[in-house]
Symmetry: C2
């Protein structure tokens, strides 16, 4: 058996999320179905992040054990030849014995895109949340800074099971205005006064709907329904109803997953490759 690390990119629009469910089109089941004829037996993959229905991924990571001796580049070609075009295997690497993409993930980074304007450009509609009001970026940045650290994020969790309690560590939470000159946004959507905002958050892990509840709350700050100081108060309240609404799934992308556990990353080279996208 070989242990493999797959890096996957997908558009979440037509998927009922990552996790296998009976009679639903999920990323996990589509990838497992593509692996099965190659392996000659049913295959189970473990994803680093169980993305919700509609959430995209640029650098999802999955681990899998296979007994087929097929070379890795051939395996990648075979998979991408079978998979539907809304999911792609971006890279396949050999992983150390015991590599588990979920359990060993050290950091995950998510991005959330918001388009702020009266009109939503059609070419952005599947990947950005359309917000019609002006947002106060300085207030959103001040509020985001109060999220950084090791905290109980239960006020930003939707009902549902999460592994290991509700304390998580957020390493960074930033808002940027992607430069429109030369950007894809300009290719699709340089219309009028619209502004694209990008939120990026890195943490040791995230509770169910946590990033989307954070974005919904930060947008409430941006439109002056809340003040930046309210975010610390909401965290302390441990009350989900104190936070803002859950932002829609289609603005969210699982951007990358980092692994640096030296027991599983034998060399600097592998450690480096485990970090996924470096931009």
């Amino acid at each position: 058996m070989r242990n493999l690390k797959l890096t996957l990119s997908y558009e979440g629009t037509d998927f009922a999320g990552w996790q296998r469910q009976p009679d639903r089109r999920t990323v996990q089941s589509v990838v497992e179905s593509a692996l099965e004829p190659i392996e000659g037996a049913p295959v189970t993959i473990i994803g680093a992040g169980r993305t919700d229905a509609g959430v995209h991924a640029a650098g999802q990571v999955a681990s899998v054990s296979l007994s087929t001796p097929i070379p890795l580049d051939e395996l990648q070609r075979a998979l991408n030849g079978t998979l539907p075009p809304d999911v792609r295997v971006i890279a396949i690497e050999t992983a150390p014995i015991g590599f588990d993409a979920r359990r060993l993930a050290r950091h995950k980074t998510y991005r959330y895109l918001i388009w702020s304007d009266a009109t939503m450009p059609p070419l952005l509609r599947r990947v950005a949340w359309h917000v019609t009001y002006r947002l106060d970026l300085a207030a959103m940045r001040a509020a985001s800074a109060t999220l950084v650290g090791r905290r109980d994020f239960v006020a930003f969790r939707s009902a549902g099971a999460d592994d290991g309690g509700s304390v998580r560590e957020v390493l960074s939470a930033t808002w940027t205005l992607p430069d429109r000159a030369g950007a894809f946004v300009e290719d699709c959507a340089a219309v009028g006064d619209g502004i694209l905002l990008r939120f990026e958050i890195t943490g040791t892990g995230f509770l169910r709907h946590m990033v989307r509840a954070i974005v919904g709350t930060l947008v409430d700050v941006g439109r002056a329904r809340l003040i930046p100081e309210d975010v610390a108060r909401i965290l302390a309240s441990q009350d989900r109803s104190a936070a803002g609404p859950t932002a829609p799934a289609h603005g969210l992308t699982l951007w990358r997953v980092d692994y640096t556990d030296s027991r599983y990353s034998g060399t600097e080279g592998i450690i480096h490759r485990f970090t996924g996208f470096t931009g």
Copy 2:
């Protein structure tokens, strides 16, 4: 009656092109159907460019005469409330009597996106042509320069009727590598060694499939099937079979339409607004 100038953005994926056709979903018919209940009578709009099936637009321009006294901002809201999400009215302005979006267009600018890599990122697949070979950008730029000027482009025309012969003036034809730092591409597709190339061409008008035949030919130059000097030879041959293949529709976007005819643009302000997107 008021003459109006509409600026439209659409994703071409699910449209059989711009032009009204019986029993086909086209941009013209969808917009005309949205206008009809507001006007209380059938409406005909004139588009600056008759984009093909699958071709997108960031700044298509259409002219229309309406007798309804509805204020323009209300008209825009009403249209965008009715239209499907893959087409949006980005702007509506009053136009001088006699304004005809097609006949008076002075320049049109198209953009074409190419993703060069083994793997196509799912989030780019509807807007960029996936090319699996490496492209020689310097050769493509040299070849593009030979297209600039007033020339007979019949060798780059597909069979079909065009207004006014086959001589057109190309004002610029450039290739750029959109900066990936901070770009939407980075949000969706910063994977491995993939490169996004953007072709932009501005001209007084374009023959049927002309931009796509030019892109297909320039890609043949980029992969060394042709040399840059061949493009001048192909132009001179006036033979469509001498040129390269027609690049697929989904990489192409009608980017903007410029109007500067002083008979139809009464003031500097209107002239300015007629130029559409300025980036």
